[in-house]
């Protein structure tokens, strides 16, 4: 009996994936650590112990200017970076499996170009404080662009690739208008340009609050359907035979991922590379293509962007680097190493 049992456990070696909690846990711990670093470092150095005491409301915490720096500047900024990173990485992973394309990124359906156009319209026509209007304009622009892509493609239900193509067309169209506006109003070239490269300098509690609502809702939806997303690896008939309605699942997934992306873009501008690199990085480390590790992808994306933002703030201090530069600068080589080690996407 005992021998039989041992034989059967040997037989199922290498069969069937298991949820990799270890990686999820490591990423969560990493996010906490990186987050703590991010709120500690800067022109004013804050001590870990005092930060923790302040956050937990204990005696001996920070006071005065230090407290203001922590609560009103660094904390919302780190939180926003985490939210945006999680949103972009998760949407990227989801787009990649919905479109069965390892190169798909969250900006694919025109969300980025639409949001860019919205932001440019706001910047070029604004009088006074544009920054409070930017998120709203870019959110509307991004969502409109994606809806237009859906509307034009029409054949989404028959062929996901046609949605992809119309997304590209809508995206280029929006970019063309944006460039035109930019040239017409050359005085505002610089703010538009810096927005395009991505920045988290505008982070405040108001932005953190409303973007966290949209991003957490869409991430919740995506993580709850993440196991079923694996079924989309099969042909539509096969996934149907396993009890999935592939078109409905794609619709839900794309809608949630777009909401997360549009929110992220409107809160922070265009931050490239996170949506492609982080999912593949997690896949490379866990040796697993499935979407079961979507939570891990979200945590890794959050940690990655918090770290990148720390770099953006401190490397050329007191000047700031655009965070998109950091993500590409660090992300690209790291990605290439993983890619070379795995040899497959």
């Amino acid at each position: 009996m005992k021998g039989e049992k041992r034989e059967s456990s040997a037989r199922i070696q290498g069969i069937s994936p298991i949820w990799n909690w270890r990686t999820t846990f490591i990423c969560a711990a990493l996010l906490l650590l990186v987050g703590l670093l991010a709120i500690s470092f800067g022109p004013i150095h804050l001590r870990f112990g005092e930060i923790i005491k302040t956050l937990l409301g204990m005696d001996g915490g920070l006071s005065g200017q230090d407290r203001t720096v922590l609560i009103d500047l660094r904390l919302p900024r780190a939180l926003l970076a985490a939210l945006v990173g999680a949103a972009l990485a998760t949407s990227g992973a989801v787009y990649q499996s919905v479109f069965r394309n390892p190169l798909a990124d969250p900006y694919l359906l025109g969300a980025a170009s639409g949001a860019g156009l919205g932001a440019t319209i706001a910047i070029t026509n604004a009088h006074g404080d544009v920054y409070s209007l930017l998120p709203i304009f870019s959110f509307i622009g991004g969502t409109l662009a994606v809806l237009t892509s859906f509307f034009i493609s029409g054949k989404f239900f028959a062929e996901p690739q046609s949605l992809l193509l119309s997304g590209i067309a809508v995206g280029s169209f929006a970019t063309a208008i944006q460039t035109y506006l930019q040239q017409r109003h050359s005085s505002s070239l610089r703010p538009v340009y810096s927005w395009i490269l991505g920045e988290l300098t505008v982070a405040n509690w108001q932005i953190v609050t409303w973007s966290s609502i949209y991003i957490l809702i869409s991430l919740g939806v995506l993580i709850s359907i993440s196991k079923q997303l694996d079924g989309l690896m099969l042909s539509d008939e096969e996934s149907f035979s396993l009890g999935i309605n592939p078109n409905r699942l794609r619709m839900i997934a794309v809608a949630a991922a777009t909401l997360a992306t549009a929110t992220a873009v409107s809160a922070s501008g265009l931050i490239g590379f996170v949506g492609i690199v982080v999912p593949h990085l997690v896949r490379g480390i866990t040796h697993r293509v499935t979407n079961r590790n979507l939570l891990t992808v979200a945590l890794a994306g959050a940690a990655f962007l918090v770290l990148a933002d720390l770099g953006a703030r401190t490397l050329l201090s007191p000047a700031e680097l655009p965070i998109g530069v950091i993500t590409a600068f660090v992300g690209a080589p790291f990605f290439l190493v993983v890619l070379r080690r795995r040899r497959t996407l």
């Binding site: 069969i15 069937s16 994936p17 196991k227 694996d230 079924g231 690896m233 042909s235 008939e237 009890g243």
Partner: protein, 255 residues
């Protein structure tokens, strides 16, 4: 699981794909759809799966197929989606999802997957990347995924078209083994000789209609089968009594 089809019609963009089909499919039998390209065989399979919209009635155990979510039907497509970066066992494990819930393979399921891999001669390759398999191994993996589902009915679209003769027999023997365990099989097949060898019943289709339908041994000698293929096939009977169907080369083709 009895399937009864009544007055089935299906049009896509004004083009008639299936035209007034009525037939019954008894459980435990192997039925084979035969006919030229474009006859509607694949679409008929999708209707039987419940994933295509149709008019008329297609009932399984008395319930319309697209509404009957309790059925356990497996589908093996002719042109598979081959996902990148997934291993043979992970792919086959996807077949367990309907039984266990997505992403919750039980240890019994893992045992079952090992059994299916042995049965389809894939055991030992479970860690291999599916995108690096040969055509024969790929086809066996597709069938293994369908078997992992423990289906009552298995629908196969040209399960042998990508395989050499040896592997064709291997795959069909696997299906025959399944049939002996009580699974109903419906397949399309271009090789009518093989269809007659394995299937209990042959359904001849042409331009969306059923031309002939009956026991394989009878249908293979029927004039309707020849009509379906424009009279360009010859049927011979070997000394063993086994029928062989081959394409005919007309004199006019030689010019």
């Amino acid at each position: 699981m009895m399937i009864s089809v009544r007055n089935l019609d299906l049009t896509i963009n004004g083009k008639t794909i299936l035209n007034d089909i009525s037939l019954d499919i008894q459980p435990g039998l192997w039925s084979c759809l035969v006919g030229p390209n474009g006859a509607g065989k694949t679409t008929f399979l999708k209707v039987l799966l419940g994933s295509a919209r149709y008019s008329g009635s297609v009932k399984s155990d008395g319930v319309e197929v697209f509404r009957n979510h309790k059925r356990n039907v497996a589908f093996v497509p002719q042109q598979p989606q081959i996902p990148q970066g997934i291993s043979v066992s992970e792919y086959v494990a996807l077949g367990r999802s309907k039984r266990d819930g997505w992403g919750n393979e039980s240890s019994q399921s893992r045992e079952f997957i090992a059994k299916v891999l042995e049965q389809t001669n894939l055991y030992g390759m479970q860690r291999q990347q599916i995108s690096q398999l040969s055509g024969g191994e790929m086809q066996r993996t597709l069938i293994a995924r369908a078997l992992a589902q423990e289906p009552d009915l298995i629908l196969l679209d040209e399960p042998t078209s990508a395989l050499d003769l040896h592997h064709q027999i291997e795959v069909l023997n696997n299906l025959q083994f399944l049939q002996k365990q009580g699974v109903t099989i419906i397949s399309t097949m271009h090789d009518i000789t093989l269809a007659a060898m394995y299937a209990d019943r042959i359904i001849v289709m042409q331009e969306g209609r059923v031309l002939a339908d009956g026991a394989s041994s009878e249908i293979i000698h029927s004039p309707e089968l020849r009509t379906a293929f424009d009279n360009r096939i010859n049927v011979y009977t070997l000394d063993s009594g086994r029928p062989v169907v081959i394409a005919r080369k007309d004199e006019k083709d030689e010019r």
